[in-house]
Subunit: 519 residues, 2 copies
């Protein structure tokens, strides 16, 4: 069947089940929902004894304690990013126990999680659900169909939605805790492996049957501040090192120095100014890419020159947003993950730098998530097509490069969602007739700013009207594609097998696209 | 039937239902539990529109919006204590709508809630559930059987347990919010009506079908810090004044100046020192009564003289505990309600002064509540009996004076629970053969310190052993009662009707006692 972005989707996928096809960005949003029950084993006590001792000697021991069995789902959070040791350490012990068919439901996995590839090959791990992935051996293994069942890529808001609705039931959550006491109170902002806020782990802590904190900084009771509290934690394990904080920042998390990208950023800021979006009370989110941060920088300059005070910055937070907060350009920051040390330090001390849960950030089925308040979203893309559909999951060769993250959440919520990109990347044109994989539907994407011109989604007649006398280089998207193709040629269609390696869910849980194993 | 504290309890009570009798302090603690589902109406959005506007013009209008109907349960929190305006304002509008048989599930009600008496008489309100009450017209009306169905008195930990287990389902929670933005992010520590932490409202915000924030300090988005977040809030109403913060502190929340009470406090501290409980890592909770705070003062002096650093102070927090925190006597404070302005201000700025949910505080069916970590608990009592059962609910004349609060939660958890009291109050002896109403079972109460001697629960052979050579005035509890009765005479049995006016639940939801209407 064809879904609402025109993608042919199987009605049922082996190892995933029946497919609910994507029916439009807003068709399943709203209405009544039920948060599922969650199961608790109370930590009992007798007078003078503080219940069962939560402190367990080793990861090996705690796996027995929580009763982990074949086929169960374990979860991890990704705030230590490419410096995370916990996922590998836990999965190694799970493998040692001879467990099989484990579902790894991590909020994100990185290059450092290469050891999972062996576990995939041995069918210790047969299912993976995630919202963030970076290129590397694991992404390659998934691309090449090594995983028994298709990986499921959820958005940052889709993941807590799936957890709260019961679609994603977590048996055991393992939470890397940079600071923790022996009774499970923890925070992410302090300790030798501080990673900042633990936002993506909040749903796991609330809804997993068993919750294990793994820390390399066991402090006397009570850990303070308490970010995840003891009443949600079954066990605590102290280990040598939970990660290498140097692995948190990688890739560009600073303003780009490339003159073309700086020009794209300046053009974007000028466009935002011309349409009147840079004003008191405005809110802004960008990714951590160099061009995105450059847009924040350019917007910041305009804000300062006009004495504008914004409402909030949000998302993954970089030092650049911390600087904007400290300069008084925003009233607050809402943070789901810290991208660098400046952000990590700020998260621990500035009450206006606030952790938010993934539900508060982007869950479409809550009483109002933050993306609904967002004015301006600067998006990245590996490809975009003439219908403004965005791909952040695959390269044009069909290999997995990333996952949905907050891309389709923020695009759906923000008053304006702008993709910033060079028109040509390597020898390829980012603009396509149809993107290889749709992550974010075109109906939610408003503008594409490139080094060869700006294309505005024809749905946004309000923007077209506002910019009709602008001197900005506004062109039709077809025209922009033609320019790109003059340089890069017309891409050959991608050849794939019929094996589905990734199911890409839209934030509402419908299937917006699938990734087939490339030939 | 007789329950485990020897009280004769009906097996079924009209307007309450089937009774689960109290079977012992620890018999229902532990084991597996399920947090209930909760119902959400998602706040939907279309591109460029931030979902349904949450800001509603008036309380009257919001009552229509949330679909309040006859027989439903509405909830309130009590952090504004005797200065709260919100409960009365909401209930007045509910009455105006002609609604009947409303269940008021407030965490606490005070003298200021006198207007509820009329609503009880008109059967607008037919059920009340609470954990805190102060003497006044409402307590009198309940004593006199005006309420159609028996009031249910829960402990501070029993209330969130009942909410999470589904025993107490809240249709609409109305949350007085001293600072709030138009999308429902709120905190209690700032604003003209600041009341400090909003802890008792957290369970309501998480589990009520509808959540309404009522504020007199609507701030630009985002309110910071966020104590209860927007994803849990359906509507926001701005009104002139949510309360009078001067009503928060009443009664003694300072060290007593009465020499006899000071002597009781000093004796208590000396006892704690002799048994070795005043040591590094210790934790302490007291009520807000003058003698209790004097105990904290005396303990603090010993801590200072021995350079002892404790772990935490907890419970309702007074300025005295803030002072102890600031002097470095504790690593942290866990706060469920602020009892004075010093505590309120500290709650907003000191990261070591931490809000905790009522579940984290005292819910016996979570993964480990704070009372399990508590070393020393100083309890108040209106009566205590020779089996060490404590009454905090009724006077000896059967009239309602208070509710369970955290009394039986902390007694069950703390390594030592000490009742401090004058032996004689007015012309009555607090020591009885059997207390009028059992709130806290004697098996969890360890010591009674009075101005005429100290009685130790014979179950605590460890304490008796430790104190066998002490010069402290340790006497048998029967002897102490005899002393009291020499002054006060033997009390006449209380005459009651057979109408149950209050069902007193133990923290596990079993019925530990009932209050009959006095004759």
């Amino acid at each position: 069947m064809k879904n609402a972005v025109g993608k042919e989707i199987p009605s049922e996928i082996l190892g995933y089940g029946k497919v609910r096809p994507f029916t439009g960005a807003y068709t399943n949003i709203g209405g009544n929902h039920t948060r599922v029950t969650s199961n608790i084993k109370a930590n009992s006590l007798k007078k003078g004894a503080a219940g069962e001792d939560k402190l367990i000697n080793s990861i090996e021991e705690v796996i027995d304690k929580v009763g982990l069995k074949d086929g169960m789902t374990v979860s991890f959070h990704h705030h230590l990013r490419n410096g995370d040791y916990v996922t590998n350490l836990v999965m190694k012990e799970i493998a040692k126990k001879g467990l099989k068919n484990i579902h790894v439901a991590a909020s994100g996995l990185f290059k450092c999680h290469e050891p999972l590839v062996d576990l995939i090959e041995n069918q210790v791990v047969t299912n993976i659900t995630l919202s963030t992935i970076s290129p590397g051996p694991l992404a390659k293994a998934i691309t090449n169909g090594k995983l028994k069942n298709p990986a499921v890529f959820m958005s940052h808001g889709g993941r807590p939605r799936a957890i709260e609705s019961g679609e994603l039931h977590i048996d055991v959550a393992f939470i890397a805790a940079p600071t923790c006491d022996a009774y499970g109170n923890m925070n992410g902002s302090f300790g030798k492996s501080a990673c900042g806020v633990l936002s993506y782990a909040y749903a796991d802590a609330q809804y997993a049957d068993k919750v294990v904190a793994i820390t390399d900084n066991l402090v006397p009771f009570p850990a303070s501040p308490v970010e995840i509290s003891q009443d949600k934690v079954d066990y605590v394990v102290q280990i040598e090192e939970i990660g290498d904080p140097n692995g948190i920042s990688f890739g560009p998390t600073k303003v780009t120095t490339d003159p073309i990208n700086l020009k794209i950023a300046a053009t974007t800021a000028r466009l935002l100014d011309e349409i009147g979006y840079i004003k008191d009370g405005m809110s802004l989110q960008t990714g951590a890419g160099g061009t995105s941060i450059a847009v924040a920088d350019e917007v910041g300059k305009i804000m300062k020159s006009k004495n504008i005070i914004g409402s909030f910055g949000s998302g993954g937070i970089t030092g650049y947003f911390v600087k904007m907060l400290n300069e008084g350009l925003f009233n607050g920051l809402f943070d789901t993950q810290c991208f660098d040390q400046v952000a990590i330090q700020s998260s621990g001390i500035n009450p206006k730098h606030m952790a938010m849960s993934a539900t508060q950030y982007a869950n479409p089925n809550c009483k109002g998530c933050l993306v609904n308040q967002l004015d301006i979203m600067i998006l990245g893309a590996t490809e975009i097509d003439v219908d403004f559909n965005v791909n952040v999951v695959t390269g044009s060769d069909g290999s997995i490069l990333s996952s949905s993250g907050g891309n389709n959440d923020t695009a759906a919520g923000a008053k304006i969602a702008i993709v910033v990109s060079n028109l040509l990347k390597g020898r390829l044109c980012v603009l396509r007739d149809v993107v290889t994989t749709v992550t974010t539907p075109g109906e939610t994407v408003d503008v594409l700013v490139t080094d060869y011109g700006i294309a505005i989604n024809p749905r946004r007649i309000d923007l077209i009207e506002k910019l009709k006398d602008s001197e900005l280089p506004i062109v039709d998207i077809q025209e922009l594609k033609a320019i790109g193709e003059r340089f890069a040629g017309i891409p050959k269609p991608l050849q794939t097998t019929d094996k589905v390696v990734v199911v890409v869910e839209y934030r509402d849980g419908t299937v917006i696209d699938v990734v087939y194993q490339p030939k």
